[in-house]
Symmetry: none
């Protein structure tokens, strides 16, 4: 039998708030998604002006980061032409995201969830996701 550590809705709210604050600071309205460690959605927000296409992308970045226990930008590097994971961007009906902005949420070495951000550049998305995680870890 396993005992699984998993973020709860209150944790997701802290992650959302941290990400939202950073998005506001850099002036880019974002879609922000939080999943549990199984990749299932816990919370989502599309800030006013966030992109419609980014709804699914943010959710899928969080899904990928939590489910694969890996940042989506790492997949970006691993899936370049000639690299070992080339082509994986099309996996799971396109849900496997290799664009930056998805990060696993890790507590004491365990992945307890994922955060996915979309609407800015991949670097902005990643920065906002990192701010969400920083706020969460600071509050533990």
């Amino acid at each position: 039998m396993l005992m699984v550590k998993r973020l709860d809705l209150a944790d997701a709210g802290v992650l959302l708030a941290g990400a939202r604050a950073k998005a506001a600071e850099i002036g880019v309205p974002m879609c922000i998604a939080i999943t549990d460690e199984g990749g299932n959605l816990v919370a989502f927000e599309r800030m006013d002006g966030g992109k419609v296409t980014s709804i699914t992308i943010a959710i899928d970045k969080a899904f990928t980061a939590a489910g694969a226990k890996k940042a989506t930008h790492e997949y970006g590097e691993l899936s370049q032409p000639g690299k070992p994971a080339y082509g994986i961007a099309a996996a799971i009906g396109g849900r496997l995201m290799v664009v930056g902005g998805g990060l696993p949420v890790v507590v004491e070495g365990d992945v307890v969830g994922g955060i996915g951000v979309s609407s800015g550049t991949p670097m902005q998305d990643r920065e906002v996701a990192e701010a969400g995680i920083a706020a969460f870890l600071a509050g533990l």
Copy 2:
């Protein structure tokens, strides 16, 4: 050119809070989704204990109610065997929900969004969605 009224993220937060309070009151942890009037997701919450299968169902109930400008339980009645909309539950890849718990959010006669709730009985889901709308309308 059209000018369209649409709920914003702050409005979605009020709808979520009203629904969450009712869900807590009746003791059923829910998935709650808010879409804009075009059916695109604005906010989502899965309360601790909410059902994994209800993530998509709540989102699709909100999508249906906003996009079709009709409560999902009305489709439930209209799509019974022998009724005119029989079979519509399978439409749009199954996204057209005919189970209660999806309501359009209406302001001065205009649909400005949708709320979808899932994890309880359809009647509980509908009651929680109604509580979300009541909280929203009370705050206007």
Copy 3:
């Protein structure tokens, strides 16, 4: 080798205009789709106020009527519980529509395309689709 009769874009325009005029007359803004005899979309219009959920439904009604050479309301009867086509509403990922409002476009006994209408009651949808076909046949 086959020679296939198929409506062209000008024909689709006549079908759309006939349907649009009837929709305006009965005061229900509709989604109207025209496919060729292979079920592939030729033309589509969402009248101002037409339902977002009806975009796919109208297209799929036209697809069903053209591809199956049968009115969608006939499938509605044939797919009732206990009837031979029971369950077919879920076929093709839900694209097989059994709700009224999809009609094959028939010229001299040959199906040359399909028309699908959605946003009203199934009876209104069917009436509007019939008006499109009537306008088309009157102009031959």
Copy 4:
């Protein structure tokens, strides 16, 4: 509450006509799709000889341009191997188009819809989409 500017069906007709005229001028029958600012289809035409595969591609180009508020050819550049958005072409079940021919329709700084064109080379598709927008802006 937000107030959103959105193109109506008459606007979509002007966009279609402008695009169609350019397609005829360059001798390439096109699929042309118009969506609203939420990415939902408003109007579509497949000119006689337009490609069957281009039906979905045109619709998805318009969806992408409207939803992401960005021309699809910009995604083409940003998603090359080694670039930040590499792999995004597979997102949203492949609906996120990175091939030229999708443009947002912008009025006074606001995205009010999208136009997507397909059947020619990506450069021809883009030229035809631009002609649609030019006709629309000239008529405002």
